[in-house]
Amino acid sequence: MKSKYVEAAVYKNEQISDCVFRLSVKGSFDVKPGQFFMLRAWGQEPLLSRPISVHDVDDEKITFLYHVVGRGTQIFSKLREGDDISLLGPLGNGFELDMLKGKVALVGGGIGVAPLNYLYKKLSMNEGVEVSFHAGYRSQPFGLECIQGSCSLLNIATEDACVGEKGYIIDYFEPKLYDIVVCCGPEIMMSKLIKKCEAAGVPILVSMEKKMACGIGACLVCTCKTKDGNKRSCADGPVFLGSELILND
């Protein structure tokens, strides 16, 4: 699974929710769930590529889910079928599927559901794994293509109560019911969930989202604090054991 820098063509790019787009790129990619790519679809401006996690992979394309927040993702949102895009990746450690056995809970917040979709797809192929999915959104849910209709337990919470429970998903989540928890979402959500899991004695893996420059471990701008000193979110992560991280509340 060696990382590469490749030029590719857009397969499809569609808006699926308010400010959220799904971008597929043609090509065959060997990717572990939880890994990401540095994407760019422009010349020199903006300067840096954007780290985007992998949402899905099949034989003919790779799919990313992204939230339009700045200049880079705005350019992505204008891409059409056949447009050029550069991909550097796959990058990062990804989830170790061997660690995810028994009753596994995947907990996503907003765009944090993106990598969990592909993780769910891979886990659901493994025997001896029972996966449940818990997703929280501000409003309309998105990014649950692999999950809806196939997951034995799908819990949704929305802050505006348009779907599912009203409020934050972690307020409705009980770690004690599971052997291991996986979370991707805003840092404050992951921090609270780590504490909840620690109190319940349940291990938790989290995927960190940080601004990155190189994506390959050289620049040290995406470091996060751990009990073992600073670690690079791009090259040492983005997946970390919750117990090793020191997060701000």
């Binding site: 020199q44 401006e45 300067l47 190189c214 390959i216 050289a218 040290l220 470091t223």
Partner: protein
């Protein structure tokens, strides 16, 4: 055709990967043959290991970026033991970039590096993200003179001094560094700048200021390189926003013996190879046999 000699060290071409943007080279070896490079300047080293700065470490701006990494590094001893052996195998010149916060630390680290296999010691007196020392050494020529002189006594390695664009007088700074024993000058490091988050109404960085790099700084960096090339006799290694071969040629025409590529390594991991090949193709097209023919050609 493109080989250059920097203080007695023969580089196969004038393109060096700049400190802080290339790790210790290993991260990039998956993407291209790093032996293609003229040299690699290591991540900024300090005597003791350093965790670097807290808070936001990077902010993107128009045509550039700001960083506040704060010299996170494993320390000189760990560098020599764990990183240098694999750098030696990369078949390119190894430049150790040394930062610090006290003259004593610089000297002790230089003594350790003197006994190692590094090719060139690049003295970083210009890091804007270290509270003590660092930047202060790079602003006042008299302080720079003292630190370069002390390090000169501590090592017989070729000594290149990396200047800050924030120096009070860049030519005076370069002249003083040469008087104190510098064999070469490299410039410029990042420009000191600030960014403000208007929603939170707070500075983006905990240190308030941070170092600006990337294409945005190129015209100012080029001007400083031109001026320094006119006032010192030692080789000058120019850098600041170089991301194409045309940028590199401009620096050579301004007087640079070699150039360093920094932030552009983040845009495309093998961008240094594009620049090397671009320089070679330009020379072939223009009938240039040696970089000597165009070095410092603007007067």
């Amino acid at each position: 055709m493109t080989s250059v000699n920097i203080c007695g060290v023969e580089l196969k071409n004038p393109v060096i990967a700049a400190s802080g943007t290339f790790g210790f080279g290993g991260e990039f070896s998956d993407y291209f043959d790093v032996s293609r490079l003229g040299g690699i300047s290591s991540k900024g080293l300090t005597l003791a290991p350093k965790q670097g700065n807290d808070g936001v470490r990077m902010h993107e701006v128009r045509s550039g970026m700001m960083n506040s990494v704060g010299l996170q590094n494993p320390g000189v001893e760990a560098f020599i033991k764990d990183e240098l052996p694999q750098m030696e195998k990369m078949n390119t010149a190894v430049i150790a970039n040394l930062g610090g916060s006290t003259i004593e630390d610089y000297v002790r680290a230089a003594v350790m590096l003197d006994k190692s296999s590094i090719d060139i010691l690049e003295l970083n007196i210009s890091c804007p993200n270290v509270k003590e020392g660092g930047m202060a050494f790079g602003i006042k020529s008299c302080v720079a003179y003292e630190i370069v002189g002390e390090v000169r006594k501590a090592t017989s390695k070729p000594l290149m001094v990396k200047l800050s664009p924030n120096a009070e007088d860049i030519c005076d700074m370069a002249i003083n560094c040469c008087k104190a024993g510098a064999d070469a000058i490299s410039l410029v490091n990042t420009f000191k700048g600030i960014a403000i988050d208007i929603k939170s109404r707070k500075p983006v960085f905990e240190n308030i200021s941070a170092g600006v790099s990337g294409p945005a700084i190129k015209p100012m960096a080029l001007r400083m390189v031109y001026e320094v090339c006119g006032c010192v006799d030692v080789p000058v290694v120019g850098m600041g926003g170089i991301s194409t071969y045309e940028d590199a040629i401009e620096f050579i025409m301004a007087g640079s013996h070699a150039i360093q590529v920094g932030t552009a390594n983040f845009i495309k991991p093998d961008i240094c190879v594009d620049i090397i090949e671009g320089i070679e193709a330009f020379m072939a097209r223009e009938g240039i046999k040696s970089l000597e023919e165009i070095r410092g050609i603007i007067k």
